[in-house]
Symmetry: C2
Subunit: 366 residues, 2 copies
Amino acid sequence: MNRPMRSRRQATLASLAAELGVSRTTVSNAYNRPDQLSPELRKRVLETAKRLGYAGPDPVARSLRTRRAGAVGLLLTENLSYAFRDPAAGGVLEGLALACEDAGVGLTLVPGGPGNEDVAAVHRAGVDGFVVYSVPDDDPHLEAALQRPVPTVIVDQPQLDGLDRVGPDDEAATVDLANHVVGLGHRQVGVLCMRLSSDRNDDFASQYRQQDAHYHVQRARLAALQRTFEAAGVPWDSVPVVERFDHHVDDGASAARQLLDKHPRVTALICTSDILALGALAEAGRRGLRVPADLTITGFDGIGEATRAGLTTVHQPVLEKGKAAGQLLLGAGDRVASKVITLPTELRVGTTSGPPRTAEQHWFGP
Amino acid sequence: MNRPMRSRRQATLASLAAELGVSRTTVSNAYNRPDQLSPELRKRVLETAKRLGYAGPDPVARSLRTRRAGAVGLLLTENLSYAFRDPAAGGVLEGLALACEDAGVGLTLVPGGPGNEDVAAVHRAGVDGFVVYSVPDDDPHLEAALQRPVPTVIVDQPQLDGLDRVGPDDEAATVDLANHVVGLGHRQVGVLCMRLSSDRNDDFASQYRQQDAHYHVQRARLAALQRTFEAAGVPWDSVPVVERFDHHVDDGASAARQLLDKHPRVTALICTSDILALGALAEAGRRGLRVPADLTITGFDGIGEATRAGLTTVHQPVLEKGKAAGQLLLGAGDRVASKVITLPTELRVGTTSGPPRTAEQHWFGP
DNA sequence: TGAACAAACCGTAACGGTTCAGAACACGGT
DNA sequence: ACCGTGTTCTGAACCGTTACGGTTTGTTCA
């Protein structure tokens, strides 16, 4: 410890006031309202503070009195690696952090361990509001947050009526993407998706499991794919869907392997995230499949690495998403009605999608 | 707002106690020490709480009394994008978040805007300690944190005596890497490095600027390179060093461009981060340079994308780094002496390094 | 001359909890 | 009838600060 030795006890505003022979109010004013006391006295207060090793009013006591914690809480998916390893999630965090920074408030990551039913941390967090990102619809932590008498904003994931929410139109964006793939002529497709529910299932996902997914975004994207492909005459029960609980590039690779082993004739792999798509790309390379000649691969999110890899994907403004959430939350309080912000998306056709290798071409585009 | 309507004022422990006709102590015990009251009464308390919309003891008031905020503060570099976009930084954050999660405490990102001299946020943060990551040695926010009567742990960046610190041996690791490059026979090398000081300099960095760098890690790596190359007979003033303030792949590309435009004869580009190296790789491709036949490129950190790209780099255990920092901080308090944890690194030779294209080969290896 | 007013400072009452030393009571044993 | 031992609940002190409504002092101006 290189910090200066302190007297028996940490100095407080009161002890400082006693030492100076002034009232506590005056010391408080020295820090919070410089215009309320003479510059000389203020200087004297600050000097004595330094001498006593007093670093200014205690944040917690201040928060209690002012009823503002000066921080917003972030509730996110059970496994943190998703939040930090997926650039899309990172973008959301960054945007949110930026909004908080602008407002001069902290951003507190509230713990909610894997399978952790312990919501105590949510109750114990000293925050002025919550941003909830990417948790399943029935998450107990979310419920705990809603109990707290502070505003809450949802980003993307839980779908709940009456709450402030920020996110893209996942259905519409996915329909665009699917139409692109259909338009290229693909009829034998496979899907790689992220975790659908809280229980681990690193395997094919039944239609029931798809419809029952607790992760709204995945459910929405799958539903949109189903709609589009069925409209194109592809029965959904003929489309294999492989799910992965974790969300690393390797998981995408293993999912692709599992799917292609069982369904070698698919000509397109639609992935519900870029990370999974990058893994699929790696697996395709390992098998000697040319992309897109032998296999079309698409992602979702539009992260940097995807762009660099030329991935066909849907880009969404993740930074803005986080920022919007923060601003929404910090601007709340006066507002009465709940607000929903829908962000634009953009289909970005790269070099990983093309017509299928099979002889008969279904080409509907110009 | 879908939250239940509340009476005039939010319920408190006192109002609950009054409603029930018991003491505040008892209500408090119902939440914190269930064994201190009869199960029936506890049940009655909890039921009444639910009825009144009381979500449990106020976190801030509790923190004031117990003198534990239940969160650790994270102070990081001025620009957040570094923290969220660089997977190495993300790994540190994740590890730290994991350690916090294990301990059931929150992790608060304390704002400290770019060029923001306003350290108020550091004083206002209700935290039990600080982790400082990747800030310049003379950062005012760091100073503010040290004033606070809470423990502090440094990760990687600021080099300050007497403080707890976690990080790799940057010098030794860089020497290993440099020896690898020297051993391959390279004598005409260039260096791409990250921000050296708080002022922007997207240009070549003079030797003075290198030695005066406020970012300790960069300074250490450059110094190690200098030592190794001079030992191999390469005068350091013949080695161009290009600096970039921001830290995206594109910045690495533009830095490589700038360096290669002026020094087309260099046979190796040593980058102080994988992100910069990935950019250099892209720029090499753009120029039609074969890697490593025409140009050797190395990185630092060992992030996933680097591995996938086959980059020669130094791997460091970023997750463990963050975890160690968290554990160190949360385990502090009883401890007296300051502690320093040095993490192991590993040189990972990939497919982006090889002997130089020039005729004369200097091969010192087996 | 004294009324009006601004500047500088102060006293008190919260803010919403936790904690500790007991009080009140019930119960079995002697 | 008395004692010791739990169990269950309570009263009061305290955590460190800021909000609010003063009082005091000095200056200005009709």
